[in-house]
């Protein structure tokens, strides 16, 4: 293994190279651009053999990827924010077509107002498309996940597309030392894509034709079953990867110092790395705190949330976006899993870091303090959903 200093975007390109993506249709968007630039470089350096289709939009990127996958080629693409929103229709199509295209999304806010910084609305808004969702907190995890996601998505029992999320700039443009696995090891781990059904002139079939209502519901139920089966496979693939590289990402969820924790914070992406660091400090002070980091959003880690519910007293849910109308998407999910569960810890929603606003150690500490306070005294005037650190007329400097 070789350690290289890689940004999240370079780690993404390396992941696609090691996974031997055969067709990559892609369109540039800030802050994903260096992914497609790096892929172009790797091809021009002769290090990567892939058909790079320079499409005129993200919608076409995903449509070409789905068609390539239907033809029997391993397809990969990358996008961000508005690009992912534009892909929405074809993400649903990819899932229905059972084409295991892997998409890396650099999580970025949607406009207006224009913002290019980290925010989770782009991915969370794709919740119901039928795409598997992986979430990363560092660049090593991105590279490893591109390879693992292909293996999960292409499994004959799954055959669903996969979305891999990494925070804008915090990962996409930040360099970290990353182990670049040996190609031979990756080849043994991830065999060539060989779907049971594909567009084949010697065995002609139609893909995606009209069905009547009795059949449509059966097709959708099969997708739901595949999505459910993915939980065990994700855990298994994570273990297999750990055996090869020594690196595990917790299977369905990344739990950090949760064993005897009374209060935990649950959330996604890079702010959870900061939170883990704060937890180390607070543990030294004797506080029983822990972090549950979202690793897989679809399928949702139901068992893991309920397992935590059996031991912790309070779960603070950090959402880097909002479901306008009621609650952050992760908060709503957590509560939904607890309703039919025997043990129901106290929960509160913290909407935080929206549009790339910094989430610093001081914030994490204050969230734990707040969580413990409201658990004792009730939600108070603020209610159960708290937009944390709003300026409300103050200048950013005063707030910091």
């Amino acid at each position: 293994m070789v350690k290289e200093l890689l940004t999240g975007n370079k780690a993404t390109a390396y992941g696609a190279m090691l996974a031997r993506a055969q067709v990559i249709p892609a369109y540039p968007i800030t802050p994903q651009t260096t992914i497609v630039e790096r892929i172009a470089d790797l091809i021009s350096e002769g290090r990567m053999e892939t058909k790079f289709v320079k499409v005129e939009s993200e919608h076409s990127a995903m449509a070409a990827a789905v068609a390539a996958s239907n033809t029997g080629a391993r397809a990969f693409t990358a996008t961000s924010s508005h690009g992912l929103a534009l892909m929405h229709e074809v993400l649903i199509w990819a899932a229905g077509a059972r084409t295991p295209v892997v998409v890396v999304n650099v999580n970025r806010a949607l406009g207006p107002p224009w913002s290019v910084w980290a925010d989770h609305q782009d991915a969370m808004a794709q919740r119901d498309t039928g795409i598997l969702q992986f979430w990363c907190e560092n660049n090593q995890e991105i590279l490893d996940t591109v390879i693992m996601a292909h293996k999960v998505a292409e499994d004959p029992d799954i055959m669903l597309p996969a979305l891999i999320n990494q925070d804008a700039f915090f990962l996409s443009h930040t360099s970290e030392p990353v182990d670049v696995p040996d190609q031979k090891m990756v080849d043994d781990f991830l065999p060539p894509f060989n779907p049971k059904e594909k567009l084949d002139v010697d065995d002609p079939k139609g893909f995606g034709s009209l069905v009547m209502p009795p059949q449509y519901m059966e097709f959708r139920a099969n997708m739901a079953r595949s999505m459910d089966r993915a939980r065990d496979l994700i855990r298994k693939v994570d273990k297999e990867w750990e055996g090869l590289t020594g690196r595990s990402y917790g299977g369905m969820m990344d739990m950090y110092r949760c064993e005897d924790a009374e209060s935990i914070l649950f959330g996604a992406g890079t702010m959870m790395s900061t939170a883990k660091d704060v937890v180390d400090d607070m543990r030294n002070e004797g506080r029983k705190v822990g972090i549950a980091r979202l690793r897989i959003f679809r399928p949702f880690p139901v068992d893991e949330i309920r397992y935590l519910a059996d031991s912790v007293k309070a779960i603070g849910v950090m959402d880097r976006t909002y479901t306008f109308g009621q609650g952050g998407p992760l908060y709503n999910e957590v509560n939904a899993q607890l309703y039919n569960h025997t043990n129901q810890p106290f929960t509160k929603n913290y909407v935080i870091g929206v549009g790339g606003r910094d989430v610093v150690p001081r914030h994490i500490r204050s969230l734990f303090d707040d969580l413990e306070k409201v658990r004792e005294n009730g939600y108070g005037e603020e209610g159960e959903i708290h937009w944390w650190g709003l300026l409300d007329g103050k200048t950013p400097r005063e707030e910091m």
Binding site: Q22, V23, P25, T50, K51, V53, K54, V55, E56, S57, H59, S60, A61, A63, A64, A65, V66, A67, A68, S69, N70, T71, G72, A73, A75, E89, V90, W93, L199, D200, V201, D203, P204, K205, G206, F207, G208, S209, L210, V211, M212, Q215
Partner: protein
């Protein structure tokens, strides 16, 4: 003396399609597949042909077909071609088969991308001059004066006000190697042009004028003869653009536009002064084609 049959006998479209009586689009598919043969992959967006092959698990088409979202025909054939290249199957024909709305309107962006990259595919626009699968709404390819369900002819005369979008000129501007028009009344011409298109590397575009008796409010028995009158009245013209050189492949003797229009309920409301105006424009467009043929001849 027996005429030599130039149409391949093999049928790759079985009986049992779900098209309407007299459907030109079914004829277009049949002839295109005869020319293309079995080593062909089709991509079909939302359009009549998304429904006409039959309800799952049946299909009347005997080549692999990929159904794709409305606006993605161009992208999907590019994706299929890229995959075939990656898998070392370069000899397979890749054909996009889309309606006029899916081509001239919602799919024009993806088609432009495909042509811009010069991807090695054949894109066929079967042109029935409106959104017929959704029930006769106007498209960019609907000619002036047409009644459709979104250009109704009431007291305010809301018939189609803008001319038919010139898709061949748009495609010619992309500098692709081969563009052709054809119509279902002339199967041998379709087969000749599809065969030629598939022998050329790069992006090829064909517009096949395909009558829709249902949407045109026309006797289905006229589905063949109306194409002849469309050509003679200059409502549609047959030509090729090969590497920039125009060739008008049929130059029929002119017949009055009114004869063509009055056979179709969609035009029957048109006042004589509007018909005269449209006829003058169509004649002038035909003259322009002849001029283009003349001045691009040396390039051939």
């Amino acid at each position: 003396m027996m005429a030599k049959l130039t149409i391949p006998e093999e049928e790759l479209m079985s009986p049992g399609h779900m098209g309407c009586l007299g459907c030109g689009a079914t004829q277009a598919m049949r002839y295109v597949l005869k020319a293309a043969g079995r080593r062909t992959i089709l991509s079909i967006p939302a359009c009549c042909w998304a429904v006409m092959p039959g309800v799952w698990p049946n299909t009347c088409l005997q080549v692999p077909e990929l159904y794709t979202p409305f606006e993605t025909t161009g992208a999907s054939i590019s994706g299929i071609r890229a995959a075939l290249d990656a898998l070392g199957q370069e000899d397979i024909n890749v054909i996009g088969f889309a309606g006029d709305g899916g081509t001239a309107d919602i799919g024009i962006q993806a088609l432009s991308g495909t042509a811009d990259r010069q991807d090695n595919v054949l894109y066929i626009m079967y042109d029935n001059e409106a959104y017929m699968n959704t029930g006769i709404q106007r498209s960019g390819s609907t000619p002036i004066g047409t009644w459709t369900t979104t250009t109704p002819v009431g007291s305010t005369q809301e018939w189609e006000k803008s001319p038919k979008k010139n898709m061949t000129a748009i495609m010619a501007a992309h500098g692709i190697p081969y563009i052709a028009t054809a119509t279902t009344g002339y199967p041998e011409d379709i087969i000749k042009k599809v065969t030629k298109a598939l022998s050329i590397k790069g992006t090829k575009f064909m517009q096949i004028f395909s009558p829709c008796p249902t949407g045109w409010k026309m006797d289905p028995a006229l589905t063949v003869s109306i194409t002849k009158e469309a050509l003679s009245s200059r409502a549609f013209n047959l030509f090729e653009i090969e590497n920039g050189a125009y060739k008008v492949t049929m130059k029929p003797k002119k017949t009055p536009l009114k004869g063509y229009l009055m056979k179709q309920g969609r035009f029957r409301h048109m006042p004589d002064d509007l018909i005269a105006e449209v006829e003058a424009d169509l004649d002038s467009a035909y003259e322009n084609l002849l001029h283009l043929e003349e001045c691009t001849r040396k390039k051939a």
